[in-house]
């Protein structure tokens, strides 16, 4: 696939603290690339460096298909995490101003703005002052502003935060549409279920460092080991003696057994001891959410498999 952006060896320090350490990844045309990590991992800092709002101490950021100097701001759409709009202006004015800053023709921008407002259930709100909009409506307007100028590359920092499920679906659908039409999308989010549903590849980071980088399938295959949840009163020491169990978490009568990577599910179940109390048993793969929590809380659940796909 056609590479749109390459980030290589990015480093950044605030005071004496290194907040980005050797960050490298690429974003390709028509894909949704997720950048994940707990709060303070360095996601927004990475994005700000890409956008030229901050400058890295080390490393390079290359926009392919762009010969000019600096950043092709007009070709990039950006929805920052900390976002807002001017309060006392009307919706159409602010949309046209932001499109104008991207050098997008105003008549076309007006046409597209009306189309998107209709699409996002905001028809007739173009003359309404921003301060009269609800929070969700405001977020929709910000999203429209970031895609109005038909960007080739779109950066969305936590686009789903604070949205109701219906609006989330709308955003998801539109983001997918954009990717299908060839827009390269870099998306940062905490909502793992959404990321799992949408992204093609992901870059997970913690404390400014890469932890996982690869396609969703690869990551799931390599990281999403099996886990077995058993409901029933069982002694932890007894459970620990079971073969191929890496770690156990107990809460009340429920025990979660995290299994080793190369477990054969069927034969593993067969070798469970007879005296185990089982009221209910579930065997499934660890979700992206759990991988994320695991990294965020520094448990390093799957230590052996540092992946570099």
């Amino acid at each position: 696939m056609d590479v749109m952006l390459t980030v290589e060896g990015l480093e950044k320090s605030f005071k004496d603290k290194k907040v980005l350490k050797n960050i490298s990844f690429e974003v390709r045309k028509g894909e949704i690339m997720a950048i994940l990590g707990p709060n303070g991992a360095g996601k927004s800092t990475t994005i700000r460096n890409i956008m030229g709002i901050m400058y890295p101490d080390k490393g390079t950021i290359t926009f392919h298909h762009y010969n000019g100097k600096g950043i092709p701001r007009n070709k990039i759409g950006f929805l920052p995490e900390e976002r807002g709009l001017y309060k006392n202006v009307n919706v159409m004015d602010i949309l046209l101003y932001l499109a104008d800053l991207k050098d997008y023709p105003l008549d076309k921008a007006r046409e597209r703005a009306l189309m998107y407002l209709k699409k996002f259930d905001l028809e007739g709100k173009d003359k309404v002052s921003v301060e009269e909009l609800s929070k969700g409506m405001g977020q929709k307007v910000q999203f429209i502003a970031s895609i109005l100028h038909e960007p080739e590359f779109l950066i969305l920092d936590e686009p789903f935060s604070g949205l109701d499920p219906v609006s989330q679906e709308m955003f998801k659908e539109e983001i997918r549409n954009l990717a299908n039409n060839g827009t390269a999308i870099l998306l940062s989010s905490h909502q793992m279920n959404l990321v799992e549903e949408m992204c093609d590849r992901l870059f997970m980071m913690q404390q400014g460092q890469k932890v996982i980088y690869g396609s969703l399938d690869e990551v799931k295959r390599k990281y999403a080991n099996f886990k077995c949840t058993i409901h029933g009163k069982n002694d932890a020491a007894r459970l620990e003696r079971i073969d191929q169990v890496r770690r156990i978490e107990q809460q009340g009568d429920a025990s979660v057994l995290y299994l080793e990577k190369d477990v054969e599910p069927l034969s593993w179940i067969k070798q469970l001891p007879d005296d185990l109390v089982i009221e209910e048993l579930k065997l499934n793969r660890i979700s992206l959410h759990e991988i994320f929590i695991d990294i965020a809380t520094n448990k390093n659940l799957m230590k052996e498999g540092e992946l570099n796909a």
Binding site: R83, G84, L85, Y86
Partner: protein, 404 residues
């Protein structure tokens, strides 16, 4: 530069559509006029209160001369003849205000002392004003001594010490107007654009509060954004000036009878004055935009920010000393402090006939260098400050950004 102009256009459009700004735009000149009108209302009413009823008991036939003298002096006195005796006057005065009884007696003519009875409430200086009657009375005294009309004229003429102007009085008045009118005009422009420019700082801090700065900075550089604001608010200041002048000028011309002054406005000095005013704006706008970027909210402004906001008022401290001595030490000090240079220079150049060119050159050079330095500093502060949401920067932090 294209982005700068887009930001400037946006700031102008945004404000011109903003009700608060529009109200302020028209209210400011109306308030100034309001002060004129209220002031003149008070003037009129105080005049009315102080009309004096002067009753004259005339034994020596001087009443016509007294009336003529008083009307020539333009005093607001109503003169009436009375035949009330001195004994009856006291009870008559008890219930009255601004009333006086003058007894022009034959005895008084000989001795030079005339009795006056006044009500308790009298305008100040009434007795001093009454002294004006000395001339007609003196004439009668002298006539009684048998002097001829010529002799009387010489003797009764007051001795005056008159300063002789080096040049023609009318001409000097004219040249004074020639200097004052453009100076006052430029001063007005400067105050108007600098005060409108104070809104820059609100615009910058509002962008932080509304968290839109990052979206804007994904489309343009901080320098574009900052310069766009400075230019935008300059134009808004000019709009404010023009509207104020359109509203205030007719009233001011009528009130202060300045019909002739308009022709002095288009003096060559005006361009120079306006240049000084614009330099003043550039300096303060750089400071406002930088400080605005350090504040998340006007209401939580720290002492440091508050102090900086007071800087444009600094030249007012110099008005007294500079008017007293436009070439003195204070005037020179004010010329060399960049924050006061524009104000003090405008004032001095308006008053002084001979311009101190060396001081002007040094003052303007310091101002130009200061503008350059403050623009650079503001750029550095703005770049970091505008992205620091929800918190005011401390002077320590600002210092760190400047050094970065």
């Amino acid at each position: 530069m294209r982005n700068t102009m887009k930001v400037a256009k946006w700031e102008i459009k945004r404000n011109m559509k903003n009700k608060t700004f529009l109200i302020g735009l028209f209210l400011t000149p109306l308030l100034i006029i309001g002060f004129f009108v209220i002031g003149s209302l008070f003037d009129d009413s105080s005049d009315k209160e102080q009309t004096v009823e002067l009753y004259v008991n005339d034994e020596i036939g001087l009443l016509p001369a007294v009336e003529e003298t008083i009307s020539m002096a333009g005093f607001d006195w109503e003169v009436e003849e009375t035949d009330l005796s001195q004994d009856a006057v006291r009870s008559e005065l008890e219930e009255t205000e601004n009333t006086a009884y003058l007894f022009l007696t034959a005895q008084g003519l000989n001795e030079g002392i005339f009795p006056v009875y006044m009500s308790e409430e009298m305008p100040p200086y009434f007795l001093e004003q009454l002294q004006i009657l000395e001339t007609p009375i003196k004439s009668v005294q002298l006539a009684e001594q048998g002097l001829t009309a010529e002799e009387m004229a010489i003797v009764s003429a007051p001795i005056l010490f008159e300063q002789q102007a080096a040049e023609d009085e009318a001409k000097s008045e004219e040249s004074r107007l020639e200097r004052v009118v453009p100076g006052a005009f430029a001063g007005f422009i400067m105050l108007s654009i600098v005060f409108t420019g104070m809104a820059i700082f609100q615009s910058a801090s509002q962008e932080k509060k509304d968290k839109i700065a990052e979206i804007l900075l994904s489309s343009l550089t901080p320098a574009d954004l900052m310069q766009g604001k400075i230019i935008g608010y300059f134009v808004l200041g000019i709009i404010q000036t023009v509207i104020s002048l359109v509203i205030i000028l007719p009233v001011a011309i009528w009130r202060f009878e300045l019909q002739d002054a308009a022709k002095y406005l288009l003096a060559p000095e005006l361009l120079f004055y306006i240049l000084i005013a614009c330099m003043g704006y550039l300096l303060f706008s750089a400071i406002f935009v930088g400080i605005g970027a350090t504040m998340s909210d006007m209401t939580t402004a720290g002492n440091f920010q508050g102090f900086v906001m007071m800087l444009p008022f600094l030249p007012f401290l110099f008005i007294g000393p500079v008017v007293n001595d436009p070439s003195g030490l204070w005037a020179q000090v004010g010329t060399y402090i960049p924050f006061t240079t524009p104000g003090v220079l405008l004032l001095r150049l308006t008053i002084l006939e001979e311009w101190p060119w060396i001081e002007i050159a040094i003052g303007l050079a310091i101002l130009a260098v200061s503008i350059w330095i403050f623009m650079k500093l503001a750029g550095k502060i703005f770049k970091v400050g505008i992205l620091m949401y929800g918190k005011n920067a401390t002077p320590g932090e600002i210092w760190k950004w400047i050094r970065a």
